[in-house]
Symmetry: C2
């Protein structure tokens, strides 16, 4: 079975401080810290594109684990801010990394639910085609589309890229997934010329569907929530995480939170968190992941560390 063996990440060095914007948006430091949960936002250079964030994340991966380029059979990028609409960004990454010709490459267009969705999509695709090593990238730089004067979005999003090495020999493997869509609500989060978010609608949606999705998964696997060792929820905002934790009555010590210093990085948020913990997971431990947002869309999963 295919699992996650390692994760590389990239956060741009440049940070924009939300603390400098309290007056502009008439908000308090408490609001920035307790509700939004973002003190500084990571900001890529204007010349950096999604494929560059992917390549930088791959450099980090190579520092953690030896990767033989010639063995990679699958290269997938999750993004809704591709370098170009044509070609797919995974083709550009394929070229930049000099991946072999028999390496399948495609992009998945999903937002904040994208990483968890893509884990299932790519693992299933690899398994069905007898592939043993693949790269799953996330890179969705919202700094290119956010209106810096829009209070609903300007304080929230940060840029980042990640890459997960998926291998048949990995020991962090999926037990089950849950997926869902509320397409009728798609206007809650969309990009025509600039990003638009109906914060209240997206919050209400997330606070309802995520607890339900997680309960459904736990029930399907017949696992009590107390037996989940760590919770990796999409870092939408401090407030939405607190709300989900409260509604599910989770042990706060098991809920990972880390967005103060870079922001909501869309499909990169969960692999960003997981990259810090993956080496310390112990055999038998179970973790839960849940992504939610653009679509409106959600995806949850429970993984187990084996061996």
């Amino acid at each position: 079975m295919i699992g996650i063996s390692q994760i590389g990440t990239y956060i741009p060095e440049t940070k924009v401080s939300n603390l400098d914007l309290l007056q502009k948006f008439d908000v308090s430091k408490d609001f920035i810290q307790e509700k939004i949960g973002v003190l500084h936002r990571a900001r890529k250079g204007p010349e950096q594109k999604s494929s560059d964030l992917c390549i930088n994340a791959f450099d980090d991966l190579k520092n953690k684990v030896s990767v033989n380029i010639d063995e990679i059979e699958c290269c997938v990028v999750v993004t809704q801010n591709p370098d170009f609409n044509i070609p797919h960004t995974s083709a550009i990454v394929h070229g930049k990394l000099d991946l072999p010709e028999n390496c399948a490459s495609f992009d998945i267009s999903l937002g904040c639910s994208g990483y968890v969705y893509a884990l299932s999509i790519v693992m299933a695709f690899m398994q069905a085609n007898g592939m043993t090593k693949g790269l799953l990238f996330t890179a969705d730089p919202y700094s290119d589309i956010v209106d810096e004067n829009d209070k609903n979005t300007a304080l929230l999003f940060g840029d980042a890229g990640t890459v997960s090495l998926l291998e048949s020999s990995a020991t962090l493997i999926p037990l089950s997934f849950d997926f869902g869509s509320k397409g009728k609500g798609y206007k809650g989060l969309m990009n025509e010329e600039k990003l638009y978010m109906n914060g209240r609608a997206v919050f209400g949606f997330s606070a309802t569907v995520v607890p339900a999705s997680i309960r459904k998964l736990l029930s399907k696997l017949n696992i009590a929530k107390e037996n989940i060792d760590r919770w990796y929820l999409h870092q939408g905002s401090r407030y939405i995480i607190d709300t989900i934790v409260q509604r599910l009555e989770l042990d706060e010590n098991k809920v990972v939170f880390d967005m103060y210093e870079y922001g909501n990085t869309v499909s990169s948020s969960i692999p960003m968190l997981l990259s810090k913990d993956i080496d310390s997971l112990r055999p038998g431990e179970k973790i839960a992941l849940s992504g939610f947002g653009v679509g409106l869309s959600w995806s949850s999963a429970i993984f187990e560390k084996t061996n």
Copy 2:
């Protein structure tokens, strides 16, 4: 195992005649007919978006087979011309068709290789998650991005949409797939503000990789090419199909060709062809599919009609 049970298609009624453009581009009728292979190009209305092409294809599907919306567990759109970059077009289609909340929805960004790739991706995803009924859409309207004065692209592309009903009970099932990428060549076909194509580069690429990919698949399955009953090659142009047929020494009577009246419809070209034949395939017959283009990218498959 998941297979294809039926295909709905949509071709816009409006056609643009290439025969009216002989003088403008200084080409002969013979060239239009024998090399390009497109006499008329299907053209959507300026207000029609990819999701509209999908919905129209779904209407056609419903005329062919009864579809219970509440049973659909998966809704995937292949496109590189989405309604918006955010959200994914599958979310909009999900909303318009009133699909259930437990229906997974995502987009795959690929061009002319997209349908064959997506068959594997979606079938594997459905299988891994125990899903029994899914909809796979293709819609990539190039009329929005083609420069009408660019001889390399203006005579070639047509608009269309298709939807394939994928079901665990279907009898047209995959035997094996082959995938590949030449990311270093991505500039051969790309869209910054308008579509750009290096026709010679894309032709040379396709004429090389497609025969190799098909030979590889036949050899893997230990099937002689004479035992393939029908060939469905991406309708890139009359000339590229003739070249591939020649290089593989295929029986021309078994090679489906049909783009004169609507053009190269990108990821819709293969399901457009297959939709006309799917009801007449006989048990035991084997068919080969191969898509190639944007990326640069290719994907081939061999399917068998069972029962």
